[in-house]
């Protein structure tokens, strides 16, 4: 199945792109997707920061099971204000 991943801020710079479409197997979790992305984009691997996860613009936990066409964002430490 296909999902959309958007990268922001430090993760966008490290990935070298703001948005990708990724083919993953049915039933994959957010955590599994992150592991795949770290292999695809080795510069993401050393990211030691604490990430939050958002699916379709709501925060979820890393065990969230993804569905076809979901939009996933790995949220690096926020710093608005």
């Amino acid at each position: 199945m296909k999902v959309k991943v958007k990268f922001f801020a430090i993760l966008r710079e490290r990935a070298g792109t703001g948005e990708i479409t990724k083919e993953i197997r049915e039933g994959s979790t957010v955590r599994e997707l992150w592991e795949i992305l770290k292999r695809d984009y080795p510069k993401l691997a050393p990211v030691e920061m604490r990430l939050l996860y958002a699916v379709n613009q709501d925060y979820v936990n890393a065990d969230c099971v993804l569905k076809e066409l979901d939009e996933i964002v790995f949220v690096p430490p926020v710093s608005g204000g």
Binding site: A9, M49, S79
Partner: protein, 143 residues
């Protein structure tokens, strides 16, 4: 009014929005770009957001503030893109029947923005640039 915009923020627009005949107080907060941070000479801040989600999260924290305090209306506008020294990056306005509720809800809003709304700032300083943030907080929304 919960918005992410690229242009300058105008305080009066937010004040007009929260003006309410039942209100006896309007509190505003303006976050501005400071010329120094941790000993560095800051040239500008460059903000980025996940705009659709950031606006949803701002609205969510507005709803949460309404549950916790007796407020009338709230407006939050956050700017993205480069923000020069002295310019506002965020403005919050809250109206309430009484001032204590307006002050507390306004304080709550800015603290929550810094914890859980998907907005990031890159500090551009003399000799480099760095993304700011430590992810100290948990989002308000339950998951």
């Amino acid at each position: 009014m919960f918005r992410i915009i690229r242009e300058a923020i105008h305080l009066q627009d937010l004040v007009d929005f929260v003006t309410d005949p039942e209100a006896g107080a309007i509190v505003t907060f303006i976050g501005t770009t400071r010329n120094n941070n941790e000993g560095r000479r800051v040239i500008a801040l460059d903000y980025e957001a996940y705009p659709e989600m950031a606006e949803k999260e701002l609205a969510r924290l507005g709803e949460e503030a309404k549950k916790r305090w007796n407020i009338r209306r709230m407006a939050i506008v956050h700017r993205i893109g480069p923000v020069q020294i002295t310019e506002p990056s965020v403005i919050i306005a809250v109206s309430a029947a009484h001032r204590a509720d307006a002050f507390e809800a306004c304080r709550f809003a800015i603290e929550e923005i810094k914890k859980s709304v998907p907005i990031w700032k890159k500090e551009v300083f003399e000799g480099g640039e760095v993304w700011i943030g430590t992810q100290s907080g948990q989002p308000l929304s339950k998951f």
